[in-house]
Symmetry: C2
Subunit: 240 residues, 2 copies
DNA sequence: GTCTATAGCTTGATAGAC
DNA sequence: GTCTATCAAGCTATAGAC
């Protein structure tokens, strides 16, 4: 970017984003942030308030923009398939593509943002509140779209299937390098195009398998779902 | 449990586990841990060494036991279907059931342990090293089993599909309460039996969809997110 | 094995000068 | 808007008495 000095609040947000991405909320001190941003310590308090206020502002800055993109893409998918509901692949693509695209090609700031999202989503302390605050209105709209695209599905199956999608997606954002170790370099955490190419069909198949379970419809879906094989090795039951 | 006082190292591990589960490695001080364990501050250093040593010991204590259970279950699935490889449902069940069962019915300590795993898995700092250290030898065996059960599959598809499973599973462990908010109480984070019932068919369908995909040619270049760009509403390809 | 004591720093937050 | 100065509290780690 240009050599012109960015406004102080932006400098603080940028530095905070970069540092929080690696060590999380508690692993970074306000002093480290202001030091990296090359501004005075007191300015965090002046511009943002508490450290937690800064943390939420770091997330909100990009979440807002992102949610608009995803909503636009969902609306477009709906328009294009109207009057029928779009295929779930299109819905899942609208949900995931803007994220993976920004992380892959949006620059270091976006990558840091997504790494923070991965941690927040999996935090017992912040996950329930912060994630819901940033994303739930949007997610509700996607849940509605999935419901339209999966007629007759049980809502509980849709919510859990969404939960699995959320976990797979945010672990991807963490880019921990673990799949690099595991695959001896065959796959790379940073290769988000490979992820996107696979995540959509994987998740779509999962949604269909769950939501078509137990349905006694005569009309055959596009693809038969294989019967589950009960591999309860220890004889215990897992269901109440 | 017995009223007899537990050994100091166990008291420290228990308290550390409980506190790390909520606020993570940096969000908890050694003093908080020893205070909760009702032992002296200096005893962490004496019994474990550094704070990070304690953290890894908290994980190792249960990971070891768990991995043995999962391996036993995998071997049993293999024996039962021999000479054919087991269905992938059986492999995925052996991978996930011991975890979800321990978290659901193993008591508070296990729940805390899994909450820590969720955070570590999604941590750019610890995810690559700590998770690999605790689980990769086991995961390699499961990857081999999946390969046997999915003849002809591309290894990259297997690794990425495993990655998606890992993310879905560990987000479940975090039990953040977010799905409770989202579903207005219809689903509950703590209802791990509902998770297990759905995770296995979901993941199995995802594996099959990925690994049985026709050999696809190179992906088309990525499109911009803007309105005029088609959103792949047809679901034919996921490359957006 | 346990505890006292402490070294040496760092923490988040802010009051008040400019 | 920025900076100096400071607060009261907390931090990890350890040496040394018992």
């Amino acid at each position: 970017m240009g050599k012109a000095k960015r406004p102080t609040p932006d400098r603080i947000l940028d530095a905070a984003e970069r540092l929080f991405a690696v060590r999380g909320f508690y692993g970074v001190s306000v002093r480290e942030i202001t030091s990296a941003a090359d501004v005075d310590v007191a300015l965090v308090n002046y511009h943002f308030g508490s450290k937690l206020d800064l943390y939420t502002d770091v997330l909100g800055r990009r979440s807002q923009l992102l949610n608009q993109e995803r909503l636009d893409m969902l609306e477009q998918a709906r328009r294009e398939s109207h009057p029928k509901p779009p295929a779930i692949e299109a819905v899942i693509n609208a949900f995931t593509y803007p994220l993976l695209n920004r992380s892959a090609r949006g620059g270091a700031g976006w990558k840091s943002y997504f790494a923070i999202i991965a941690q927040v989503n999996n935090s017992p302390e912040f996950g329930g509140t912060l994630m819901s605050q940033q994303f739930d209105p949007l997610v509700q709209k996607f849940i509605d779209a999935l419901r339209d695209s999966l007629p007759g599905a049980d809502d509980r199956d849709i919510y859990w299937a969404y939960h699995f999608l959320s976990g797979a997606l945010t672990l991807t954002f963490a880019e921990t390098g673990r799949i690099d170790n595991l695959s001896h370099g065959l796959c790379r955490s940073s290769d988000l195009d490979s992820v996107h190419e696979r995540l959509v069909p994987y998740v779509a198949a999962g949604f269909r398998a769950l939501c078509q379970r137990g349905r006694q419809r005569a009309a055959p879906p596009r693809r038969a779902v294989k019967r589950r094989s009960p591999a309860r090795a220890d004889g215990q039951t897992t269901e109440g």
